[in-house]
């Protein structure tokens, strides 16, 4: 280990330990009368105001992995990686009116998970189970990816073995177990201050050092021109460019749109929203969260800076590109702070995701199928234990499987979580769909998505399948080089099937479940006199 790595590591450890201490203390913050209730452990008492929600949801959605992977994608492909910006611009106006309805109906009925809502809305435990399993499966690799973020940083500091990662995760598991959602909410403050400071310094200092943005983009364009010329000679498609090529414009737009549709279907996003104390908190955050999108745009540009600076990743691990750039361009004390920002940035979403997955298991599998008469105390205990299991599982993913596998799985995760769109998002807007039709749509969308992903090769790793999410329209018989986002096509298939089968089942007068929610549940606000303390679910 070099001297500069020692300095980096010392600063990293000090900041990491300070944050862990905050995580443990968080249990006393806004101390509840009884922590052993899912509303407290799993939703922070449903009491967070605008500021806390902003930090919490910001830390939840804009994860360490995003901060590492987006510039890595820009570094590898150029303009395509910038889809993260339109994605996070489109998402808030898109979900604005839907999320406030989700908040209201969940507040009125005490829902903790999106599957709780589906259960009550459609009177179908089966559909709720599908939604819950989809959520858990999509979240698991996402947690694993947060570890990839920490690992990229540890690797750059010269720690190649798995032990530091295991220790970091054990600490995370311990304070999440103790403090629940309060831990990431409190840590998110520190994490964001660090991230904002690091990025603002970075986007001023590095371009200044490299001779300005003009020079950075000129070198990036020259870099891609060279790679594309070599690829053309070998008969391969172009590698990348600083503006979009003709073949990937549709992919860019559908990837941004599809990702935006998927974002608030993820259980951890819902957890962040339900933890807020009122509709106005949600609304104000729809205007305030784009501040992070601006930050993400700046971070994406780091990919081009890395090209201009001649930064190379460690081995074939593209995710080390940003840590390597920091290591190369900054004095070691500042690089240490930047690495801590990424490492701590991974802890916030990892904690929220494991809480969200645990809540899904507790509410929609344990309580529904294993112990129907579970008390709130038993629910909270189950969630606490399951959150440990979930994190342990994610850790095993990283240790025993190629990290590339987690990245592939996360890609699949985005496609599969989109298949809950008709039940959850459209279910919030209308009760028109038949419950069985939604199940049929889910199956069709899932099958279509898996098939498309299966046919996509990855030229870099030589894998024949699950190599990306850009589906070539030529495979459907179109005479074009255009590609489209797999998740978008899959959810369209899902919707078409759900609509057709709804018409069919209605014509056949198939029994539809009862809707346990009422129209004005969807506009209820805080202090509503009719809020139920213990959620009741109606038999399907």
């Amino acid at each position: 280990m070099t001297t500069s790595q020692t300095v980096e590591l010392t600063i990293f450890i000090v900041l990491f330990l300070a944050v862990s201490a905050i995580g443990f203390v968080a249990a006393r913050w806004r101390r509840p009368t009884d922590m052993l209730h899912l509303d407290e452990w799993g939703l922070g008492g449903r009491s967070f105001g605008t500021w806390i929600t902003w930090f919490l949801v910001g830390g939840d959605l804009y994860t360490a992995y995003t901060f590492v992977a987006v510039p890595a994608l820009v570094f590898a492909s150029g303009a395509l990686g910038f889809y993260a910006v339109p994605y996070t611009v489109v998402v808030y106006p898109l979900v604005f009116l839907v999320l406030i309805r989700l908040w209201s109906v969940s507040h009125r009925h005490g829902f903790v998970t999106p599957a709780d809502f589906v259960r009550a809305r459609f009177g179908s435990p089966t559909l709720a189970l599908l939604v819950a399993i989809t959520g858990i499966v999509a979240t698991m690799p996402y947690i694993a990816l947060q570890l990839v973020g920490i690992q990229a940083v540890l690797k750059t500091m010269g720690l190649g073995s798995h032990w530091p990662l295991i220790i970091a995760f054990l600490i995370l598991a311990a304070y999440t177990y103790q403090s629940g959602l309060r831990a990431p909410a409190l840590i998110a403050f520190v994490k964001d201050l660090l991230i904002y400071a690091v990025i603002l310094v970075t986007v001023i200092y590095i371009p200044y050092k490299l001779g300005g943005f003009g020079h950075i983009f000129d070198s990036a364009t020259a870099h891609f021109d060279k790679l594309n010329a070599a690829a053309a000679k070998a008969g391969k498609p172009p590698v990348g460019s600083t503006i979009l090529g003709p073949a990937n414009q549709l992919n860019y737009a559908t990837l941004a749109f599809g990702s935006a549709l998927a974002l608030f279907l993820y259980p951890h996003s819902v957890t962040g929203v339900l933890a807020s104390k009122g509709r106005n908190v949600v609304k104000r955050n729809m205007s305030a969260l784009p501040a992070y999108s601006f930050l993400l745009g700046l971070i994406a540009l780091l990919g081009f800076m890395a090209i201009a600076a001649g930064t190379t990743p460690i081995g074939t691990d593209g995710n080390t590109i940003v840590p390597r750039l920091f290591d190369q361009e900054f004095p070691s004390w500042f690089a240490g702070i930047a690495f801590a920002a990424i490492g701590i940035g991974a802890l916030v979403p990892a904690a929220i995701m494991s809480i969200a997955a645990a809540n899904l298991f507790t509410r929609n599998i344990f309580k529904e199928y294993l112990k129907r008469d579970a008390t709130p105390r038993q629910e909270a205990w189950t969630s606490k234990i399951v959150s440990l299991v979930v994190k342990f599982g994610a850790l095993l993913f990283i240790i025993f499987l190629n990290p590339q596998f987690s990245i592939d799985l996360q890609l699949i995760g985005g496609v599969i979580i989109l298949q809950t769109l008709p039940s959850v998002a459209l279910g919030l807007l209308t009760r028109w769909f038949h419950r069985w039709a939604l199940v049929a749509g889910w199956i069709a969308g899932m099958a279509a998505g898996m098939w498309m992903l299966y046919t996509i090769p990855n030229p870099k790793t030589q894998h024949l399948h699950f190599g990306g999410s850009a589906f070539a329209l030529s495979k459907l018989g179109f005479d074009t080089t255009w590609t489209i986002y797999t998740g978008f096509v899959a959810v369209v298939v899902n919707l078409v099937v759900a609509v057709l089968f709804t018409l069919l089942f209605k014509a056949l007068k198939a029994p539809d479940g009862t809707d346990a929610t009422a129209k004005d549940d969807y506009t209820a606000d805080e202090n509503d006199p009719r809020v139920t303390a213990t959620p009741h679910l109606v038999e399907g």
Partner: protein, 86 residues
């Protein structure tokens, strides 16, 4: 997916009361504003150009960053209008 009409077609937009409480509604013509920041950032032909540059950054990048303002503006306006109507 977010039509400006989430309350369903039968929702009375007036001041009907139920049990003495004014019935709330999310319906408003202002909600249509939300369509703009959803559609504009997806129209790649609008911004897929290198020039003009801003401090050396191609249009593709700075214009998309500027769309953030569009999103913030629309959500803020819709929120404020709804708040005043209460």
């Amino acid at each position: 997916m977010t039509g400006p009409d989430p309350g369903g077609a039968h929702d009375a937009a007036g001041n009907d009361t139920e049990g003495g409480r004014p019935r709330r509604t999310d319906r408003s013509p202002w909600n249509w504003l939300l369509v703009i920041p959803v559609v504009v950032p997806l129209l790649t032909p609008l911004y897929n150009y290198a020039k003009p540059t801003f401090i050396g950054i191609p249009l593709f990048y700075w214009l998309q960053m500027l769309f953030i303002v569009l999103g913030v503006g629309a959500t803020t306006l819709v929120y404020q209008v709804a708040k005043r109507r209460r």
